[in-house]
């Protein structure tokens, strides 16, 4: 570690020359064989039971990783069907109802079984306890339970797919879903209910962990921003998910007993469903994107060797999004017959909630300023995130402004917008995080070349997939159309072609990441020379994360201070110091 510390300062060079070689720490202190003997969370227990009954947050994280990846594959296949069908104006491969079931499957699976659980389930489970210096989640058994609850909910989705699918769209609007759809609304509703319960449990666990399990010295001001983001996300999950649950319950009651809670012909009100549904489902998009933003903070700072620009602003913007994000759901209903006055309130709050996201984007960009940037896969993904999320964000403004929303509502413009935020934002953040922490999770390093290539392919493929859809949407092409007027064909063909490229991109990591498990070279404890607590332990981490209770003296992102001690002594930086490379000799836990 001393070698890390001195990098960059020891030799003042006359002519600095560009150096794109990855910033790898020198070869790990331990030879592979030694590392294998060293007990870690993967090898200290054997056998199937030690996995299915584990309460270790790291193993549960891996279980989530495998499961959500499988469901991502399902969702992607459904997306492929949808895009392929849209090559022809009259529908290339699917019947009308098949198409409806395909896009519904795509929506429900991607939302409830991938986007919502992926980062809280995998990275949140794996990293939050390590980042706050704890041995495990606050409620390990609850953690395991929430995984199995989620799996049970997922089974209901799979079941309803196998027995004929669902054709209501993921929004389940009554009276179509309650009265006119002959597909498996009840199974899907049950699935939504149960998976929601799981995400509540995870959220409780994370919040309790952040509040109660922080190691000595880990103040709120020293929490990694990923933890802040996960905290805000969990708050949303706890406060919003129950409302969706009860909404779905009432939908089921209406469907079973044929009583009009939402059915206007017997006194009910379909708009009420939309209100209660969006009370969850709009905050849900922040459940999906906030963890991604958290990941970006970690990756950007590490690969630009910089402090985050404006720690407080970024942290509180997460909380701000979490709170204000609850009060904007009505912008999904400007044209649904919602009251005009309330619509104005929602429109105003929508514009306000856009501000924290803007702050984040600018702060990220500013973080790069004056850095020493290298472009490994996680960094390329992170930059891709900023590029795509910016587009996703600004196009949201068109939809948030009541006037233009009239024309763009329910067109492909909306589709493109939320794919730019959800996929371009969340998926790229997820890939960045996965590539960033993969060495920590597995102890193996993946192929630098292939990972960079995959990042570029995904970026290009994604951008080209959804840019044409903005145009098609502005031309007026409605969403959820298996057939469409011929003049829209050109945009759809472009979009589909790029979608295939994107698909290739998303498939690549599966190969080189799994390959790295067998052929990858040992990553070492801290391949990216990052400062987070999770990097101070061995990789893969030991069964209880740290060998001794870590003690934190410094803020999270002290990349630019190779020798923290000096600054600590002259006290010039009011106690904000790296808990990582700098103070290895001050009792902070580190694996080596």
């Amino acid at each position: 570690m001393t070698t890390e510390i001195s990098i960059g300062t020891d030799t003042p060079m006359a002519i600095p020359k560009l150096d794109y070689t990855p910033q790898m720490s020198p070869e790990p202190e331990l030879t592979p064989t030694e590392q294998r003997e060293k007990p870690n969370y993967l090898n200290w227990q054997y056998g199937l039971l030690s996995w299915v009954l584990t309460v270790d947050h790291k193993r549960i994280g891996l279980m989530y990783l495998v499961s959500v990846s499988i469901f991502f594959m399902f969702g992607a296949i459904a997306a492929g069907l949808v895009r392929t069908n849209l090559i022809m104006p009259t529908g290339a491969i699917l019947e009308l109802d098949q198409y409806n079931k395909a896009f519904t499957a795509h929506g429900t699976i991607m939302l409830f079984l991938f986007l919502i659980p992926v980062i809280p389930g995998v990275l949140g489970n794996f990293l939050v306890p390590m980042m706050v210096g704890a041995k495990d989640m606050a409620f390990p058994k609850l953690n395991l339970m929430s995984y199995y609850v989620w799996a049970a909910g997922a089974l209901f989705f799979v079941w309803q797919l196998t027995v004929g699918g669902l054709d209501t769209g993921w929004t389940l609007y009554p009276p179509y879903s309650s009265k006119y759809s002959h597909t498996n609304v009840l199974y899907a509703g049950l699935g939504i209910f149960i998976t929601g319960f799981s995400s509540i449990l995870t959220a409780i666990n994370i919040i309790a962990t952040v509040h109660k399990m922080r190691c000595p010295g880990m103040t709120w001001g020293r929490l990694p921003l990923f933890v802040w983001a996960m905290y805000a996300t969990s708050v949303i999950q706890i406060l919003a998910t129950p409302v969706l649950a009860v909404t779905v319950v009432m939908l089921a009651v209406e469907k079973i007993f044929g009583v009009g809670i939402y059915d206007p012909t017997i006194g009910g009100d379909p708009i009420l469903f939309q209100h209660m549904f969006w009370f969850y489902s709009h905050p849900a998009v922040y459940i999906m994107i906030l963890p991604g933003m958290g990941v970006i903070n970690e990756v950007l700072t590490c690969f630009s060797r910089k402090n985050i620009f404006g720690y407080k602003a970024v942290a509180w913007s997460s909380v701000g999004i979490a709170v204000v994000g609850f009060l904007v759901w009505g912008h999904h209903m400007f044209l649904a017959g919602q009251g005009y006055f309330l619509g104005q309130v929602f429109a105003l709050l929508t514009m306000l909630v856009a501000v924290p996201s803007a702050i984040k984007v600018f702060n990220w960009t500013a973080t790069l300023y004056g850095g020493s940037i290298t472009f490994q896969a996680p960094m390329i993904f992170a930059i891709g995130f900023i590029i795509l999320f910016t587009i996703g964000g600004v196009t949201g403004l068109f939809l948030g402004s009541m006037g233009t929303d009239i024309h763009l509502h329910d067109t492909y413009f909306v589709i493109a917008h939320f794919h730019y935020t959800m996929v371009g934002g969340m998926m790229f953040a997820w890939q960045a995080g996965l590539h960033f922490w993969w060495p920590k999770m597995t102890g193996k390093m993946y192929s630098d070349f292939w990972s960079r290539l995959a990042a570029v392919v995904m970026l290009v493929g994604f951008a080209l997939t959804f840019l044409p859809q903005f145009v098609a949407g502005y031309m007026g092409m409605p969403r959820r159309y298996p057939n469409y007027p011929p003049e829209f064909q050109i945009y759809n063909v472009l979009s589909t072609a790029a979608a295939y490229l994107q698909g290739i991109g998303f498939a690549m990591p599966a190969f080189y990441l799994i390959g790295s498990l067998f052929f990858g070279k040992p990553a070492g404890n801290n391949p990216f020379r990052a400062t987070g607590l999770e990097w101070q332990t061995s990789s893969p981490p030991g069964p209880h994360n740290f060998e001794s209770l870590p003690q934190v003296y410094f803020g999270p992102y002290e990349y630019s201070v190779p020798d923290g001690l000096k600054i600590l002594n002259d006290g010039s930086t009011n106690g904000v110091h790296s808990n990582g490379s700098a103070n290895t000799d001050k009792g902070a836990a580190h694996g080596s």
Binding site: P175, Y176, A354, D405, I406, N483
Partner: protein
């Protein structure tokens, strides 16, 4: 099922004043957003190239700058609020029709999977709406089953039709032409079949269309509810179709497209087929006999055809175009527009 409409470039046609106003806001937001994104991307590119890792050049330690953060909090906020204000004013226009529009209220009923439309003058259409140019009209809609959405991109207009309630919008078309009508709210299997056409006609064409003598779409039948539509029913009721039909061996001259044409009559002269001519040929056929036909046409007296009915019949005859004349066996067909359903309309479900 979809006729490709002539749409030029990347922009949907602007067929109403509101479309222009809506696009102005759209362009405004676009300009601001492109500018903002340009700033972000510029900084991003600059940093990525200028601060790529250089041997021996450490990174600076910058913790942040409240001034800058205030800057890029307040500036976007100002623009966002401008979007909000302009957007609300635009929305105001969209939901508040001018007073004259209330006199011309068209009603729309959405149903899986068709639009049933009725004109203030009583004419009914399915999946088609003919509108007069430069006239503010109000559209009030509801649904028979699920939630639909009556969307006309060319007017930048869209509103959900909700079962159990009335919602509405208004247009003032200012450009003749044929535009798309979409159902924008997912409504089940036939969602993408629930589409149609908006025809914006000149005032006189619209009037002609109303009484059935002017038709844009192919198909033999006058618009439902128009005089010609009544006339057509009488045409069958009074057995005219027995002789005047499209069969080859028909015993009477074809009536297709004869209005305002010269007709050769016995005695070597010709006569212009005016309304009077048509009227006489029915009330008193022996007045003028068409050259080359036997005088077998019976006279229809007031007791058989009232004056009103006669007007309708004549209006129908005037509306006949080549190929429109029905065959004897034909019965009263479905109203105009219904055939656009049969393309892929699924069985059951509605």
């Amino acid at each position: 099922m979809f006729a490709s409409l002539d749409t030029s470039g990347f922009l949907p046609p602007q067929a109403s004043e509101f479309a222009v106003q809506s696009d102005m806001l759209f362009y405004y937001i676009t300009a601001v957003c492109i500018l903002g994104s340009a700033v972000v991307y510029g900084l991003l590119a600059y940093c990525c190239f200028m601060f790529a890792r250089k041997e021996g050049v450490p990174s600076k330690r910058i913790l942040g700058s409240t001034k800058l953060e205030f800057l890029w909090t307040s500036i976007p906020l100002v623009f966002f609020l401008s979007f909000f204000v302009w957007g609300v004013r635009l929305y105001d226009i969209a939901i508040n029709p001018p007073p004259e529009a209330h006199e011309r209220e068209y009603t729309v009923v959405g149903k899986q999977w068709m639009w049933k439309i009725q004109h203030p003058t009583g004419q009914r259409e399915i999946n088609e709406l003919h509108l007069p140019i430069d006239t503010a009209v109000k559209i009030t809609g509801t649904s028979e089953d699920v939630i639909h959405d009556f969307g006309v991109p060319a007017f930048r207009s869209k509103f959900d039709v909700v079962p159990g309630r009335y919602t509405s919008a208004w247009y003032k078309p200012n450009k003749e032409g044929t535009y798309h009508l979409f159902c924008d709210q997912y409504c089940g299997q036939g969602h993408s079949q629930m589409v149609g056409k908006i025809h914006v006609l000149s005032q006189e064409n619209y009037q002609a269309w109303l009484d059935g003598s002017y038709r844009i779409r192919e198909g033999k039948n006058p618009v439902d509810g128009s005089p010609s539509w009544e006339g057509r029913k009488l045409f069958f009721k009074l057995q005219c179709v027995n002789c005047h039909n499209k069969e080859s061996e028909s015993r009477a001259p074809s009536l297709e497209a004869i209005y305002k044409t010269k007709r050769a009559i016995q005695g070597g002269t010709t006569i212009m087929a005016t309304d009077d001519y048509l009227r006489n040929s029915i009330r008193n056929p022996m007045l003028h006999i068409r050259d080359g036909w036997k005088p077998i046409m019976p006279a229809y007296t007031r007791s058989q055809v009232t004056e009103e009915e006669l007007l309708n019949v004549i209006s129908y005859i005037k509306s006949l175009r080549p190929g429109d004349l029905p065959s004897r066996t034909e019965s009263t067909p479905a109203p105009v527009g219904a055939k656009t359903q049969d393309t892929q309309a699924p069985a059951g479900g509605n």
